[in-house]
Amino acid sequence: MTLSGFQEMTGITGGNAVSAVESKACCALRLGLVGFAPASELQNNLVQQRLAGEIPDTLLFLQHQPVITIGAFGGEQNIKVPRDALEKEGISVIHIDRGGDVTYHGPGQLVCYPILDLKDRGRDVHQYVHDLEEVVIRTLDDYSIKAHRDTDYPGIWVGQEKICAMGIRVVHWITKHGFALNINNDLTPFSYINPCGITGRGVTSMRKLLNQKLEISNVIDSIIRHFSAILGVKVFEATSVR
């Protein structure tokens, strides 16, 4: 990563920027509600910049407008309702290149896209997924939600219900896509699909489990804290976004 790239991206200057670059810091960006297409374009741009060493490892936090995405492992057969019915509800359908099958994103669900260089992390993609899962499990534990992995099914589960979907792509050892954690979002659209191609299991959200609406920024704080501890990086919040 270059100092100027880090400064330009984060708005952090002076000694703090130098120490951030030297300690292989990670930069967190809170983007709010972003359409799926612009978010994909942003990710692709950041992957190229990360590859070129122009920017540090980066965490994107955002929410999407309602969209059903079909990952590289998935197929249309896991969408259970006709397209026009989805369109009527304002839900678009997009094929994308992440790992995984079909999932839904919408407002109130927190999406996290880490753009990390795994060449700096022992080139172990399984360890990376395990670490991300651990971040989510510990974040939920902060809210007294006991969540777990499932050896047969991807994602993070509370009992038999999925609370967090994961799907990742690695390009030249740079990661993109990531996880989607159900916080306050309406879960109804999940009934239009077989989430991740799995049938016979449900989905849940933090709101549903805790019976209250949550402050998403607090959940992001928690994720950043655990991400920092588990992946062993200092995380800087960007003060400006290009």
């Binding site: 290149d97 993609v125 399984h126 997924v129």
Partner: protein, 117 residues
């Protein structure tokens, strides 16, 4: 000399991966470092890079095949080289699962100046 493209080991615990997609066709030129195919392991789609520049001469593992770590995915030849003979009857999903990484599905000889495998 022929370069073998093998199923990469992407983590200490990885034993096999599945071919999701070939981004290049047989006969196409590939550049070193270019994404040549996509494999699936757990929740990850991973783009495999060409280890050398050359011609993607033979795809051994087809889309949907599961191949053990170290198993052959394809052969890349230098320009001017030719595959003289290929032995082996093609990969099968179950065979691929059983086959050990050190064994090779094809014996490849090429001309000129190429070592057999």
């Amino acid at each position: 000399m022929a370069t073998e493209l093998v199923m990469p080991k992407l983590g200490a615990k990885m034993t096999e991966g599945m071919i999701l997609e070939w981004k290049k066709k047989e006969g196409e030129r590939v550049d070193k470092g270019e994404s040549i195919c996509v494999i699936r392991t757990k929740k990850i789609a991973f783009e495999v890079e060409a280890p050398e520049s050359g011609i993607l001469a033979k795809i051994v593992a087809k889309k949907g095949d599961t191949v053990p770590v170290g198993g052959t995915l394809a052969y890349i030849l230098q320009e001017g080289e030719q595959l003289v003979s290929i032995t082996g009857s093609g990969i099968k999903k179950r065979e691929a699962k059983r086959r050990r990484g050190s064994e090779r599905p094809y014996a490849v000889r090429c001309f000129p100046n190429c070592q057999g495998n």
